[in-house]
């Protein structure tokens, strides 16, 4: 197998993707991204090109250095991948890195979220560094041409406003007639002054919120060779709002589908809805689960607390099995969690909240994680959710990257 010389620009070439062994989910990175690679055993660094991604592996071209063992691949200062590398294709400097961890801002994930990657990748196109590096003539005509180039980027067509500025002799002046609000320009000036104090030579990217809190701008500053810099200020307010709306709509679709498929037994909840739901009951018992040995203690404590509520023995065992399954999941997929019992006598039901601070369940994984038996990567039957659905009257689920809250509900005998 060879790596096509035009790769990754040749659409029909899939050699680099096949080596990722990720089925049809692998995708090329167009254009390729420069990344910094640090071999963790030696802490030696080198440059490589990221040319293919999947949820579980990435493909790097590294002509200058062979890549082996565990390494950190830095896509950006807040976007790093840790994994193990090996030669992907013999005779070609192409390496496949199996993903162990993805460090994205404050999150640590076990796989690469392709949608987020592409969003990040496209946003990267907004960086005017490449366009501005060779900027010699600091006139408005040049600014117009740069703006014209930037406007070709597809993502910019969705952005309402982009303002370009030139920083020269301590002053900022707009390129063209449009300019941002004065308070935004003031913040921009302050940030650029701070960057100037720290020293030139670095591109700067900051987010600016307008004084009234209603607008958000991404500011990209690119140093130019002659101690000036070019600034692109992009109003991303609408884009952020649209993204939030899109995610909310997607969440609502999943919520509706899961509700219909389970005949209303499994309901997705927002954190706010969950808060109000729990206020309906009285907190009766709370326990932390940190290791498998805690599960037996949990079952005994919850049995003692639930027995007086009048559940018949078999029903009580079934509900305990469900609670135990949820508690076991916090150990399988994280480092444990907190299990809390709420009793709502007025409503004739009890609810058990299983809260873990793991990585959460990805929205796209929810149907399989909750409905498909055997969907598990650990040494179990992968039937935990199936058992919960069978043995509970209703299940509420709220899952984010900060953790998962699962509420198991059982009716109490009247």
């Amino acid at each position: 197998m060879i790596l096509c010389e035009q790769c990754p620009d040749n659409p029909s070439c899939r050699n680099c993707l096949l080596e990722l062994r990720s089925g049809g989910s692998a995708q090329k990175v167009l254009p390729p991204r420069k990344v910094k690679v640090t071999e963790l055993a030696t802490m030696e660094t080198s440059q490589a090109q990221l040319i293919a991604v999947s949820r579980t592996a990435i493909g790097l071209l590294s002509p200058s250095k062979q890549l082996h063992g565990r390494m950190e691949v830095e896509l950006a200062f807040d976007f790093r991948i840790i994994g193990s590398g090996l030669q992907g294709i013999n005779g070609v400097p192409y390496y496949v890195v199996d993903i162990e961890k993805v460090l994205r801002k404050e999150e640590v994930l076990e796989r690469l979220l392709l949608e987020e990657f592409h969003t990040w990748h496209l946003r990267g196109e907004l960086d005017p560094t490449d366009v501005l590096t060779n900027w010699k003539d600091r006139d408005d005509e040049r600014g117009r041409l740069i703006k014209q180039e930037l406007q070709k980027l597809s993502i910019l067509r969705q952005i309402e406003s982009i303002f370009l500025y030139l920083f020269d002799d301590g002053n900022i002046r707009p390129l063209g007639s449009s300019r941002a609000d004065p308070d935004v320009e003031t913040q921009m000036q302050r940030l650029i002054n701070e960057a100037a104090v720290r020293g030139a030579g670095e591109s700067l990217r900051e987010q600016i919120v307008s004084g009234d809190g209603k607008k958000v701008f991404e500011m990209y500053v690119s140093d130019l060779p002659d101690r000036t810099c070019g600034i692109a200020l992009i109003d991303v307010t609408a884009a952020i709002a649209e993204e939030r709306m899109r995610k909310r709509r997607e969440w609502e679709i999943y919520r509706d589908i899961l509700g219909v498929v389970t005949a209303g037994k499994l309901l997705l909840l927002s954190d706010e809805e969950l808060f109000f739901l729990l206020r309906e009951g009285r907190k009766s018992l709370a326990m932390d689960i940190k290791e498998p040995g805690d599960l037996a203690l949990l079952r005994r404590a919850f049995k003692r607390a639930l027995e007086p509520l009048g559940l018949v023995a078999n029903r009580l065992l079934q509900f305990l099995v469900a609670v135990n399954e949820a508690a076991s999941n916090t150990l399988k997929h994280g480092s444990g969690g907190t299990i809390t019992l709420y009793i709502a006598n007025d409503l004739g039901l009890c609810r058990v909240v299983i809260h873990d601070q793991g990585q959460g369940i990805l929205l796209e994984d929810l149907p399989r994680a909750t409905l498909q038996q055997g969907f598990s990567t650990r040494n179990s039957l992968g039937a935990g959710f199936h058992v919960m659905l069978q043995y509970c009257d209703r299940i509420y689920l709220s899952s984010t990257a900060q953790g998962t809250k699962l509420i198991l509900e059982s009716a109490l005998p009247s």
């Binding site: 498998p292 040995g293 037996a296 099995v321 399954e325 040494n379 935990g384 199936h386």
Partner: protein, 116 residues
Amino acid sequence: MDYRATETNGQATLFFAGELDMAVGDRVGELLQQYGGRNHSVTVDFHGVSFVDSSGIGSLYFTTKELLASGKQVEIVNVREEILDILSVLGFTEALGITVGKVGETGFDAKQRDCI
């Protein structure tokens, strides 16, 4: 969880008692592997088992599957009604296609046992 084992003429019987959960699941699978590996058939007596979950039964499931694939005989007997219901919901019995008997006579002697 406790267990006791007997072996006679290539036939092993494993008696389990207690709660089969994540904490002991792997050990139960290892015991089945150990006795199944050196006998033609293994009977797993569940009379003393008062609790099972998907994590606890997982290792037993995969070990049973391996033993069956290698031509060994495996059966689970003396399963309490409520435990049988959990095994059924877990899909354990259906997936393996083995005999799972309800509770009857048990050979478990609480005085002769080892702890897992």
